[in-house]
Symmetry: D2
């Protein structure tokens, strides 16, 4: 995990959206990164506050004052900018930032969709930035590494789509399953709901309990379907059901699909997955019979995958885990930046969990 590369001058990076859980992850990742220098820190609710007022534990290490969001300031002082603001904010900023030559990594949903009508339908906001959106690349490095390398604008995936797509991609790309049979039962820690004070995210409400939400209607559904459709070569409809788990970090997806060839066994699919992710330093395919726990990847950019074929039902069950705030959000954005800059893909990124 030592970092050998070195460059003369640091790349100047900005961060919009300092107060959320994505923001605090990015601050730490930027501070840890050998080639980056944080030259702009902005947010709408935090403007004027020191970072240590927003996150007291950070005060001794990083106490920069947050600024208002101003396009001129960002574009003058940054080469690259991460946008970690709520949905609907980036689309107001990105056209100007891209025009001024910045590389932009947006963590919201604004630049994830090739068809903006889908965005308008599911997110309820009108879009006028079609030419900017056309430049956006979907920031899942394991599937779109080359496009990301040449991108100036990256729409970073949602947390559920990251885990779901890493679990599903080999099956779809290799044509191994009946695509309409695809079911993704997802389980997420509560930090995915952000740091906003909501009754449903209170400890006393969440602790000791589990429930589903957004059944048949979660907004990550069209995002997963878009990429799955691209992978299998035709429009695909799938079932996606998220659940809230009484834990802070982590996502597990349990994927079910009907195999086209009932003769395939677990070992066969294990080989397929291993080959598919051979060049992916952050994806681990577990041994047959081993299934991942979310804690195995907490605090890292890693994704662990276990799978089984059930000969009784001719289904494959795939289990994939990520840290929703890192691989599912902030560190994956940093992985994209590494690729965009031609740096080692894993530069400055955590791989191994502190356990337990």
């Amino acid at each position: 995990m030592t970092q050998q590369t070195e460059q003369a001058t640091k790349t100047r990076v900005g961060l919009v959206g300092a107060s959320g859980y994505g923001g605090i992850q990015l601050v730490r990742l930027i501070l840890d990164h050998p080639h980056l220098e944080l030259t702009y820190l902005g947010g709408s609710s935090t403007a004027g506050q020191e970072f240590g007022q927003v996150y007291p534990h950070m005060a001794p290490w990083f106490n920069q004052q947050c600024e208002a969001i101003e396009i001129e300031a960002i574009s003058e002082r940054c080469d690259v900018v991460f946008l970690a603001a709520p949905n609907g904010v980036a689309l107001e900023l990105v056209p100007a930032l891209v025009e001024r030559g910045l590389r932009v990594l947006d963590l919201s949903a604004d630049y994830r969709f090739t068809d903006l009508a889908v965005y308008e339908q599911w997110y309820g906001k009108e879009r006028k930035d079609h030419s900017t959106n056309a430049k956006a690349v979907y920031g899942l490095p394991e599937l779109f590494r080359e496009k990301i390398a040449n991108a100036s604008l990256v729409g970073c995936p949602g947390c559920y789509p990251t885990a779901s797509l890493l679990a599903a991609a080999p099956l779809l790309k290799q044509g191994l399953i009946a695509t309409e049979s695809l079911i993704i039962d997802a389980k997420s820690g509560v930090s995915g709901a952000g740091r906003v004070a909501k009754q449903g995210s209170l400890f006393a409400e969440v602790d000791g309990s589990i429930g589903a939400y957004g059944v048949t209607q979660h907004r990550h559904t069209p995002e997963i379907e878009q990429v799955c459709s691209e992978l299998c070569g035709h429009n695909l409809t799938l079932q996606f059901t998220p659940h809230l788990i009484p834990m802070t970090r982590g996502i597990l997806v349990t994927l079910y699909a009907q195999l086209r060839d009932p003769g395939l066994v677990t070992e066969d699919l294990n080989l397929v997955y291993t080959a598919f992710y051979r060049q992916a330093p952050f994806v681990t395919i577990l041994d047959v019979g081993v299934y991942p726990h979310t804690k195995w990847v907490t605090g890292t950019n890693s994704c662990y995958i276990g799978l089984a074929v059930d000969p009784r039902t001719e289904r494959v069950i795939v289990l994939a885990v990520i840290d929703n705030l890192l691989k599912g959000q902030s560190s994956q954005a940093m992985q994209c930046l590494n690729i965009m800059m031609g740096w080692p893909e894993d530069l400055g990124l955590p791989k191994v969990a502190f356990y337990p």
Copy 2:
């Protein structure tokens, strides 16, 4: 929740397996029950200990000494006996107890299977008690109330099967789904693993983490399939995947199935479920758009069910929650006893959760 019925003499009840989480629930339920008197308390590991040594919080309320397991003592001093011992213990005791005229409620897997070959295959123990087993009734009151009323031996359901079957029964009984499409993704609190000291149940291992286990191979699969097959009228194979959740109590099952009639909408199925469970005082069908959280039923014998039809995929998704140690184990056994004795079905049983 007041209890008006009264009878002259109390029914003498015994409990085998005092030390486990099932045992402690039953002790409390028996103490709370207006018609029961605990006349025998036995266990193999706890023999000779006072109950307050096993569960210190019970000492001020109930501190009876645990006895060795002796069939003569049980049959002399009890009219009814609950067996809450590990799998494979009941089958040694039950033939003699039934022969001596006791009513027996077994919480283990020993008397759940009509075909003992299935038990032998999944539980790895040879069975010789075929005639006793033939008398056993599956103790899920919402489906088998009349058989239970006339039974002398009840094989009480497993925790996962209870939630799974309550979620699936209306669909199967009414022939609404393609039976081979049935997938049950189940999530359970850790108390289901019992009070035995195991590394995998340690707080530090479980906290902040979720994982699947027994993928394609959990022993509750054949139990669920047996009853589902009976409900739909033919042999059915289904997918069952359990997950361990960082919480103590509760099970949520998320059921997926393909509708035979794609014209059905959520409101239709809501009506079907409401009608199906009209006589079931412990099953609540939630309003359309409301999905249950396990905490809503913690500490009760209740089951809450929410459901949705997805017109995009022509699937129904059913969500059902129970308290795994109560409706999934001990209080359901008490519900069966109430039925066997001709008492009100809900006598002495908790319905409403303390929240939060």
Copy 3:
């Protein structure tokens, strides 16, 4: 735990403050109580809503509509009223309610102080209701049972004071300790902060973490001091430090005090405590060497106390646990009502925890 007493007509009870965690406890306790009928349910934020909209799990059992808070409606339809509103609300209602002859149990801080100047200083609100306040009795039954029996207005104790005073009372009443040495280090679950959406109560902030708050300045300090001073017969100043624990329910207080007689041993004090609480059905003194866990009393009105004398330091350490929302709040109020009405003190109140 069966309830034998019966009366011809039920007492009509009202509840103001239905939406909070205190409110939901009281609804359940009232429904469970054999002599009570809930005839008024009010709240400022919930007026017009059905209770099942506020707490969905209650819909099948109790779905009464919440009303606006109106003194006339309350006094016409109720014999007794529980006020579970935020601090500063009761003082506007209570004078008129008491005047109209209602028995009032207030769960806020408004009627806990004999000296209203103390209230004004710590709660920052001016008080004009001195004559009403003079009628108020402090609702800790184990210490003030007779006063409560004759009271028309009860100021129910805070959660921390309940546990602290039950732990300290025998020492102070018997003059066993140097009063100025008294230190109370308290640990509370998060439900004590209520159901209001606050960033500091979010699962992601609280989970896996513990911290102190209100150090040297918590508002329960003067409340504890007032009663301790009364018990020992002179004005006493003590140290009180609360901590937030990653759990939903429960309070543990750890009390430290210097013994006046260094010759006393643990067994001596155990006897003193046992004698002191002989008439208290909800207080259990544990055997020497046994220390209570909060989970032993979750869901009950019980208080468990363990203690030890340290001969090396000549200190006594007392550990007391309660359920903060029940004995620390709502069920203690019901215990007071039982006493006021001349019913058995434990009528309708839970004593034994469901465990685990």
Copy 4:
């Protein structure tokens, strides 16, 4: 947090006790350290197993086979060795290892006591290695940096003593408190009990509950007293009470002491602490009015301290948090090694928590 120092050859390091939570921390810290190479990995229970069998999440990153514990192998292949075995194991190994010239860092209690009679009394094991023990230095860098720099054998502090001593040291060293008034109320996560399967560490027992243990008798008491006595210059007796908290990692100590000079205010003591720890890169004194949460230091070698003077009681209350498995155990041992080797004290050590 980048690491600039580089040396030609790596220092060869061994680890005894690979299976425990201390072991897994050390493996990760060694892998992350720029100057270390893990050349020996041993354990009694794990001999012959690959590390990925013991900790499955480590398999992709580090899967070395564990060896039996053999002094010859260790001394031939290592320059330095960490011993993370249970109490009583190190004392059998250390004399031979030190004699062979290795630098030894022992994480057990075996080499923490200057007076072995104290060890024998509290740990119940006879000691014959007095000459070896005489060489041992207590491994708390903030207090004994220079001794550690010259040591060949370091007895690394317990988790509770680390937090307690960092909280108490400035007060004792500067003579600010009445030493006999010292009370330490400590709260620890469950990982402190290790990875051994014990009923009391089960999730279902620990979750949602808090309790004290070892009241007046915990074995860390004499260890804290030994160092406190050294700091204040005379034999001191103090009160130490540990509590088990439903969280995995972290310790908070709440320290109470009577001030000698009642005129001191919070700001004065804040200055004293800030000055005392000016050279300590891992100790942060928080601003007046800010109190630390354990989560602020999870995953780091940091210690955060907040404090307040209560003018009403003339006491000081000090709150200190650490990660019990890192600063309280393994990373503090690494900090000692850095000092012993003349490397930067913070080399390879985590400072900033991933939050939340």
